[in-house]
Symmetry: C2
Subunit: 627 residues, 2 copies
């Protein structure tokens, strides 16, 4: 199946609001932060020792990723001010690109002697992002100045790394931070020049074959950067979660292009390893801050979750490629989970503040008491390592590609929201309030077959036209109007038993949305709250939140009453020896009070004030009136 953000227009609803917020607030905000921190000025390449704002090794990537995001906006709308900013940056890149094609600010003005000497210094990663931005800008404007710069750079990289016809001789064979592989594939698809496909394949096929790349320490060791073994032997996701996601995306690109079954098998197994072993219910990936990495299957601590926003984005890319090859709705399920939860939690409702990490639990007292390393609890305007904000820019300005796919008279509806798809003489529109409710009206013109994804969370649905189920899609023949209704109920979700930290706990899900409770709505303390497993008693009430546009649920739960004064507790009052106030152990004396729960969409946490937060609550069947 084919996808192209340019074939789709979002016309209303939740994602249209996010697309507009990105255009109006997030993209300008990220640019301004980059300007204030010297990242924009760095492109002049006139930094000298002693000046402030020494260009960092990955500043190039921050800015070109922003340019890519801006390009997608410009593909739909004429915004001269935005276009000027991009053009001005291209001016500087053009001016400062080496005769040989090389472009990297840090290794031009700070360490020119160190070009290609350290595998972990992100040069090829920055180059990859530059190529993606150039492709996007060409697609948006039809002007090829930036694309030519990118191809000139790609020519040089191919000469250095693959053909060995240009210097300097690099100290490594493949990038320490993957990204250029998928970028080269895009460059090939855009230009038709097979050189870029060859170089993409070269990097992917060489990975894990050079013994020296299996070693190294910390951030650049073999497992950390997925070069411990050849990629076709990689069935378990290891190491840095963002690098892994970008690599797997490129592997899927290449496998889809070449039909390489061994590579496709690795992609399938890696996908299953992630989705059935290492993915939080929010879509979060990479459970540990140590190396921002994967650990072992089922090891997903909620309060220590690292789960970088970029890892969710990389997973969207990977799943998107897989769906294009396999036409299986399960990949679009993953994309939906990431979009609504793991990815979107990286962005504030105001659109100008960000999370790099996305924990599933915040326990402020614990952080203070334990003193150890814990995730941040407030969204930031900018990070030293600022990969996530411009990554959000580019996803939120190219959302349409995830909504529809097409091929030979067939259209797949993968995501839901008011939108229009048009290509190859076919037109499909959706009218819906999804995910506030599950009612969708789809109007198709010129289609022979229409596939509509039935979400994996959906317990039942109705459609007013005949269909057959196929790979998770309801398949409808012909065109016309279809009314489809997904049953959407607030549902308590458990984890597989092996996820020990979630045993005897549940998370609330409604449609694709995972929910959390914040302290600010519960007198500060969310860690003593319990769900009521009796749906009647829980009596969930939905209201649509004015700020976020999504359902918020209030319902009946319980609060565990911890003994504030053990020695005065009635259950222990007869004891000959009073139980010490600070006793570690004492007889179980359960006291629960009714508690009103207010559950908000997970991705909207930390948008008010610093407060406790929790996704997984304990649960019980509480009937207060009876006792």
């Amino acid at each position: 199946m084919k996808t192209d953000y340019r074939t789709v227009r979002l016309t209303g609803g939740f994602w249209k609001l996010k697309e507009d917020l990105n255009r109006d607030i997030t993209i300008p905000a990220v640019y301004n932060r980059f300007d204030e921190t010297g990242r924009i000025r760095a492109f002049r390449c006139d930094w000298k020792e002693g000046m402030p704002d020494m260009p960092h090794i990955f500043w190039d990537s921050d800015v070109v990723k922003w340019m890519e995001g801006a390009a997608y906006v410009l593909s739909r709308e004429n915004i001269p001010e935005l276009e000027e900013k991009v053009e001005s940056l291209i001016d500087e890149i053009e001016k400062n690109q080496g005769e040989d094609g090389y472009f990297n600010i840090h290794f031009t003005v700070v360490k020119p002697e160190a070009r290609f000497t350290n595998r972990d210094w992100h040069e090829l990663y920055c180059a990859g992002h530059l190529m993606e931005a150039a492709v996007a800008y060409f697609e948006a404007t039809g002007r090829d100045r930036f694309l030519k710069i990118a191809e000139k750079y790609a020519t040089y990289i191919k000469a250095v790394f693959m053909d060995k016809t240009a210097g300097p001789t690099p100290t490594f064979s493949t990038p320490g931070h993957e990204e250029i592989e998928l970028a080269l594939y895009r460059l090939y698809r855009c230009t038709g020049n097979r050189d870029w496909l060859d170089l993409c394949a070269h990097f992917i096929n060489t990975r894990g074959t050079d013994p020296s790349e299996g070693e190294g320490t910390a951030w650049a060791n073999g497992k950390q950067v997925q070069s411990h073994i050849p990629v076709r032997e990689q069935f378990s996701a290891v190491g840095h979660s963002v690098r892994a996601g970008y690599l797997y995306t490129a592997m899927a690109d290449l496998a889809g292009e070449t039909g390489d079954e061994a590579l496709m098998t690795a992609c399938r197994r890696l996908y299953e390893d992630l989705v059935y072993g290492k993915m939080y219910i929010t879509g979060g990936l990479g459970s540990t801050c140590h190396g921002e990495a994967f650990t072992i299957p089922y090891d997903m601590p909620n309060d220590q979750a690292y789960t970088e926003t970029c890892a969710s984005i990389a997973m969207i890319y990977f799943a998107h490629r897989m769906n294009k090859i396999e036409h299986d709705a399960k990949y679009a399920d993953t994309i939906e989970k990431e979009l609504y939860n793991g990815m979107l939690s990286g962005l504030s409702l105001s659109g100008d503040a960000f999370f790099y990490e996305n924990p599933l639990e915040i326990h402020l007292d614990n952080y203070k008491k334990q003193g150890g390393r814990y995730p941040i609890t407030r969204r930031q305007k900018v990070f030293g390592c600022s990969c996530c904000p411009p990554n959000l820019n580019r996803v939120l300005s190219s959302l349409g590609q995830y909504f529809y796919a097409w091929e030979d008279g067939t259209v797949w509806v993968n995501q839901f929201g008011d939108s229009t798809f048009a290509s190859d003489g076919m037109k499909v529109t959706q009218a819906t309030e999804y995910p506030v409710n599950g009612e969708i009206t789809i109007t198709a013109e010129g289609t022979e077959t229409l596939y509509v994804r039935i979400p994996d969370w959906c317990p039942s649905f109705t459609a007013d036209r005949d269909y057959v189920m196929e790979k998770g899609y309801a398949k409808f023949a012909g065109d016309g109007v279809i009314h489809i209704v997904f049953t959407m109920l607030p549902t308590l979700m458990q984890s597989a038993v092996g996820v020990y930290k979630n045993l005897d706990k549940a998370a609330l899900q409604y449609g694709p949305l995972i929910y959390c409770a914040e302290g600010i709505d519960h007198d500060g303390d969310v860690h003593s709250l319990y769900f009521n497993t009796d749906p009647k008693a829980a009596d969930w009430q939905m209201e649509v939140c004015e700020t976020c546009g999504l359902p918020v649920f209030t319902g009946n739960g319980a609060r565990r009453i911890d003994h504030p004064n053990l020695s005065a507790h009635p259950a222990f009052s007869g004891y000959p020896r009073p139980i010490p106030q600070n006793a570690l152990y004492y007889p179980l004396d359960l006291t629960y009070q009714p508690a009103r729960l207010r559950m908000i969409p997970y991705h909207t946490f930390a948008n008010r004030e610093e407060t406790n937060m929790i996704v997984y609550l304990g649960y019980g069947r509480f009937s207060f009136c009876e006792e």
Copy 2:
């Protein structure tokens, strides 16, 4: 108050069985293992390069600790074979003691040039254990040959470390592994020679004042060995748990002797820090294997618990000293908890196999799956680091001292079991089946006042004589016969809320005994079991185990039924898309089955075959008939 193991005879019941087992099985077994491993032969001090069984730096301590245990046995009984073994070892020690008084096998035959050059090489620790053994043997036999050896060694150590009148100049000021401090205090109490009190005080007071001792790495860094700050400023238990316990014991000895209020304050605060923040419900101390050390308060993982047997023993010593000074039953509560649980779990029921670590949970599948470091799951006959077995020898052969204390016409009954105390014209006997039940008949002769500890776990009790409560003791005037009955019920115990790993879990306690469930009694799997919080429904039935002589409980609980086949699960059968078998997340569908629970005393776990084990179960109110 005074205590002396020689004033007490155990006459029957649980601890008498353990005392006899120690004499008949454990002491011979430990000697034989030490003989087989070359530890006994090492005392000939004729090892040379190239020979097998190179004497290890702490082998001396293993053997002299065994000698101490043997000495306590010999104080009560004439066992020529045992006495000969001890005498023969003393022969070798006498023969190989240096002219200067020094005795250490490793630093005589392996590294003579390295004497006193490495703080972490346990020389003074070994010396301390030698002194304790010498005191015990003198007390048992009245013969002072060994005691003189110890005093000669102590004289030399004082000259080297305190008076600086003998060489070589050591590279450190205080021991890297505490022990000699409490040993010197015993030597002083036994001989009346104030030099040993002075040297004890010197080591304690110097600790944490030499800046160089605050540094070092890993096993010998300042916090790890409690020399990060002066001892009077230490209010939080840190570092290696056994070293800490020995130090705190000596601090209490010295504070009790001198009335040093600053030192006493530190002891009290350290005790509270341990008991109200860092002690497992089993009495286990030192939650991490990294440094065999304490971590932060409330951090007590059950499956990763390190909780060395020796740390529980050190805690017994510390609490015993504190009680002697403060006359507060809370210290005897701690001793009871340690004796029945944390300490005794170190010894197999057969008496000849040991645990060095005492986890509160064994999950065999997890160990295999996760591959990480986990506690051992089977008792061993001997360890490379074999401190625990002889430590058990000496505690189990000197138990009487924990049962009674006395002073000026007053006797305190601290522990319960058939026994006789006699000293200073007073005689107290107990007849009881404790801890099978709580009925105790105490007969006192010649006492003006009798204090009987009311255990901290006891919800109520009756006595047939008037009493007043005082510091956790029921205080009875005069002498005569007293019948006292503690209410003993199987009780679910919760942890303080901050112990997050135990939230929504409970442990079963009966009297002083903590219970566990083993896989072998529950079809292999204990991790899906739940307690029923309704005592009527739980209907605990007690039987006395023939093997261990203690109550075992069977009762009604529940087992969580995990979905063996998600896609065929009736609750999900209507789903348009089947839930994948390996799904990580799916709707909560609670299924519990009635399960018969069999709870055995914690310390008896791992005495059958390798199997799962758990102390903390989840709980709920299950009424299967109603649903």
